[in-house]
């Protein structure tokens, strides 16, 4: 990936993407298919609710004592022959990885699909240093070849159809290595075979691998990657040097905690009982696997997020994508509208917290939801996404206390919301003075013949696509007074 997400606020970006019929059809088909499969996979387990509660509780407890577990993790990784690096932000993580690659003398690396390195924009940083990073996950490969951006956590090329993928392979594979066969069809098996052959050269030729991790086990210093394609296993075992960039919230205390997450994660993400490949490694082992292992622990806004007692639940996220797949907003707007590698409901609460309310894009994300609650229902670690959305809306609308790079700060309300704030204050006042409200209701009732069908100004956003309800002749409370004598 060489591009960066545009900083367009969500409503404007989504207004364009909802009009893209191909995108809408691709997303509808893909999300509805996986949605139904997930529901079936989850329904198989009688104790799903208890697993979900355990998944939330383990993460909460770990996050409460994260300082302790991270130090324990560092000790155990070091003892097992690995080297631990601490990165406060994306730039520091990218610099550490770049220097580690440079130290090997190599100019190419193979990559396991990793959200943390998408978050830091590692590929672009490596490219600047003259290092080529090859994505080896099928969907990430499609995105990289097309010079595109991921639009889904689990299925980064979900916005692409099979025919588009065939064209991308035919047109672009040659620029990156072995070309696609001339007679490539859009059959999934043929596409997968073309990718397999193309990637085989990379696996065999590269001596540096870069990965993320789904879990880090503090008690032994073990890292865990779960995946479906086996490309991860190749990247984790074949290279001489392995560099893993992992968010600090991926820590779990003990092996026994995996029992919970290895049930929750595959069923929630791919709707499988068990994912095909689970790779686990502890430091380095003589004569087997990478000779040198580096763990880059990434903060990049996580400690700030942890300081927010409502918002911190977002750090439980295990990146399963179930919330994206059920989200009616994601389904229409697509992933790119969220302006970060974390799209959908989880992105709408994660991005503004990790980055802070840094620009109009981040300020718009908490509002990119109808608060329908489908995301909370399916979340395997019970993140109450609507609660966090409303909490972040408050920070945008009213301002308030937040933490920026470890320092408590009071932020001002977003500038764009001034008119709204005044209107809301007035609304709040009127609603708290029923006599005034009644006057307004009666005025509306009396003038109802003159109400326009289309509203000017912000009201247009409603009447462009929807008729207004007719205002009745009398409000309810007048009818009540007339018929029931106003008893209170």
């Amino acid at each position: 990936m060489s591009g960066t997400y545009p900083g367009t606020p969500f409503p404007q970006a989504a207004a364009v993407s909802t009009g893209d019929r191909t995108l809408r059809a691709n997303l509808r088909h893909a999300t509805h298919t996986i949605r139904a499969k997930r529901a079936r996979a989850v329904a198989e387990l009688e104790d799903w609710d208890r697993l979900r509660a355990a998944g939330a509780a383990i993460k909460d407890r770990t996050l409460r004592h994260l300082d302790h577990y991270l130090v324990q993790l560092e000790e155990n990784v070091t003892r097992a022959g690995g080297t631990v690096h601490w990165a406060a932000d994306a730039a520091e993580a990218n610099r550490i990885v770049t220097e580690l690659v440079q130290a090997t003398g190599e100019t190419e690396v193979v990559k396991v699909k990793s959200m943390a390195t998408q978050e830091t924009g590692l590929n672009a940083a490596l490219a600047q240093a003259g290092i080529r990073a090859y994505e080896t996950d099928l969907a990430e490969l499609i995105v990289q070849l097309a010079d595109d951006l991921p639009s889904h956590i689990l299925v980064p090329a979900i916005h692409r159809s099979r025919a588009e993928i065939r064209d991308i392979f035919r047109d672009r594979m040659a620029d990156w290595g072995r070309p696609a066969p001339d007679d490539l069809t859009d059959r999934p098996a043929d596409l997968a075979e073309a990718a397999r052959v193309h990637l085989r050269d990379k696996f065999l030729g590269c001596t540096v691998g870069v990965s993320g991790a789904n879990f880090m086990i503090a008690e032994t210093g073990t890292l865990v990657v779960v995946e479906s394609e086996g490309n991860g296993r190749m990247c984790l075992t074949l290279p001489d040097t392995l560099i893993s960039v992992v968010g600090i919230e991926k820590t779990v205390p003990a092996w026994k905690d995996l029992e919970v997450y290895l049930q929750l994660l595959p069923r929630s993400s791919t709707a499988e009982r068990m994912n095909p490949y689970t790779s686990m490694w502890t430091g380095t082992t003589d004569e087997d696997g990478p000779r040198s292992f580096h763990l880059v622990l990434l903060d990049n806004g996580r400690t700030d997020t942890l300081a927010d007692h409502v918002g911190r639940q977002a750090l439980r996220c295990i990146r399963c994508s179930a919330c994206l797949n059920v989200c009616p907003v994601y389904e229409r707007a697509g992933g790119h509208a969220y302006g970060s590698p974390y799209p959908g409901p989880i992105g709408a609460i994660l991005t503004p917290q990790l980055r802070g309310l840094a620009s109009p894009l981040e300020e718009s994300l908490p509002f990119a939801s109808s608060l329908c609650g489908a995301c909370y229902d399916v979340c395997p670690v019970a993140i109450d996404i609507p609660e966090v959305l409303v909490h972040l809306r408050e920070r945008v609308a009213e301002g308030g206390e937040t933490t920026v790079r470890g320092t408590r700060t009071v932020i001002k309300p977003a500038r764009k919301h001034t008119a709204e704030r005044i209107a809301m204050r007035a609304t709040g006042w009127a609603l708290n003075h029923p006599a005034a409200l009644l006057k307004a209701q009666r005025l509306a009732a009396r003038s109802r013949r003159f109400h326009p069908r289309r509203l000017p100004g912000p009201g247009r956003a409603w009447t462009d696509t929807r008729d207004l309800p007719a205002v009745p002749a009398e409000p309810f409370r007048d009818w009540w007074t007339r018929t029931h004598g106003g008893t209170a």
Binding site: G373, P434, W462
Partner: protein, 254 residues
């Protein structure tokens, strides 16, 4: 048993027919209904848009208006959810902010007292009154849209359906993708109008495909959105609050 009708500001202003239907229905079932004139809005539009502090006076007003009632009944799933789910949350947040103890106590008491006695209409009928046949007649094909807050926050489950199934003459049509949000979402409908309209258009299409003459729900705000799209498309399908169907004995489509 003192039953207070919390009609909601949307129904009071735009859909008084729904409020009248609740009164008709409950009186027919032998319930004496009261309408405290001090009531106003529960504060949901303010709270969900991020104005929690402006919501607090409305919380206190709401609790005071219904102080003497044993039950608060409302024909709105989302307003019931606001009181039950968010009022306690608002009180907890105030406590967390370290505000004065009198203020915190007032909010906590108001939240606790209203949350525990608030019932969405179909809950009140099925759980408190123990009825599923309310003696209604509505001989029309009808489809039911389970609204998000009714479905997921309140957990209404099949209560509305059980009530509809006992309405004489009613032909209940299955709605495709019933549990998907209609796209209203309060201020979401104007802040993200494009996505909201796209969701609404899909919902309206599913409604029309049932062949029903009316689409009903436990919330008029969702129906205002769905109905606004149906009306713009010149669809003959009418949005009707479930209370109006359950109150109906003449069988006329409102």
């Amino acid at each position: 048993m003192r039953v207070g009708l919390f009609v909601t500001c949307v129904n009071d202003t735009l859909y008084p027919r729904t409020g009248r239907a609740v009164v008709t229905l409950l009186e027919r079932l032998g319930v004496h209904v009261d309408f405290p004139m001090d009531q106003s809005c529960c504060g949901q539009p303010l709270y969900n848009t991020g104005y929690r502090h402006h919501t607090e006076p409305l919380l206190l007003r709401h609790a005071a208006a219904f102080r003497d009632h044993d039950y608060i009944v409302t024909p709105s799933g989302s307003c019931a959810a606001m009181v039950r789910d968010n009022y306690p949350r608002i009180a907890r947040r105030a406590a967390f902010e370290g505000r004065g103890s009198r203020e915190v106590t007032a909010l906590a008491e108001a939240a606790a007292c209203t949350a525990s006695k608030t019932y969405e209409l179909t809950e009140f009928l099925v759980d408190v009154l123990g009825v599923t046949d309310v003696g209604a007649r509505f001989p029309h094909p009808v489809t039911y849209h389970p609204t998000c807050h009714g479905l997921r926050v309140l957990g209404l489950r099949d209560r509305p359906r059980r009530l509809l199934e006992h309405v004489a003459g009613l032909d209940l049509r299955e709605l495709g993708g019933a549990e998907e949000c209609c796209g209203f979402g309060g201020t979401f409908a104007v802040k993200n109008a494009a996505v909201s309209a796209a969701m609404g258009a899909d919902k309206a299409r599913a409604v029309t495909a049932t062949g029903a003459h009316a689409v009903c729900a436990v919330d008029n705000s969702c129906l205002m959105h769905i109905g606004g799209i149906l009306s713009r498309d010149n669809s003959p399908v009418r949005p009707v609050h479930i209370a109006e169907i359950l109150a109906s004995t003449d069988g006329n489509l409102p």
